[in-house]
Symmetry: C2
Subunit: 126 residues, 2 copies
DNA sequence: CTGTATCCTCAGAGATACTG
DNA sequence: CAGTATCTCTGAGGATACAG
């Protein structure tokens, strides 16, 4: 117990390409299958949307992955869950101020991808 | 044998957030654990580098993942494998013209990440 | 030094059914 | 409609030993 073993994360912390450097953390955030799509959709929908609406706009996502992704983004402080005081009560998710900031690099990527579709098509498919 | 089952990819192909739209393909390319780090390192090293050198600059990557990532990028036409006619012969990998183009969005992300380290630190860690 | 071949683990992702 | 709870499974990622 309390064995003295080498920190398994240590090797990642050295050098100019450290595993947990800022850019890498951004890339990790974007590496989930649905995170970027949910954020992008949320952005296109004006920064706020109801779960059902989101799900209908993201064909292929399961209810589980939708909830899971929303929860993750919520825990990160990127979106917030708001209970609307309507009758009957409704739920919607909104980009936070922090979340809005992360839309910037995401939209950069989306724009680049759309403008350079030709390059992406050029990639040898396998 | 040639069963007639519903195309499992079909649902992803519909709607404005299609799974295989250009921006998504770019994001998928960048979602591998080492792809972006290898490309970024290669870029910082002048667009060409020997495998051993790359590996020393990417602490934590195993030889297997190194080879695998290089092979993948090579198959996509993003990098090329060059055998140097030296004595003894040596190998190096170079960004192709196509590959150079993909450096653009990647460096965008890296820059954004570095300039916005504060925002990334602000994410509620869990 | 470069690259391959195995084997293994575990987390991400999905299918399904159930609860307010 | 929103959300939870299980169960399953594929495959990305990693460790290790071997080969040219």
């Amino acid at each position: 117990m309390t064995e003295t073993r080498p920190d398994p994360l240590k090797p990642y912390r050295k050098g100019p390409f450290a595993e947990d450097c800022a850019p890498r953390r951004l890339l990790r955030l974007f590496s989930g299958k649905w995170v970027t799509m949910v954020l992008h959709a949320l952005h296109l929908m004006g920064g706020a949307a109801r779960p059902g609406s989101l799900q209908r706009n993201l064909p292929g996502i399961s209810k589980k992955m939708m909830t899971q992704t929303l929860r993750e983004l919520q825990d990160l402080g990127i979106i917030e869950r708001v209970v609307l005081q309507t009758m009957p009560p409704a739920v919607e998710y909104r980009l936070t101020a922090l979340g809005q900031r992360f839309i910037e690099p995401l939209e950069m990527l989306y724009c680049w991808g759309e403008e350079n579709r030709a390059l992406l098509d050029q990639l040898t498919e396998n």
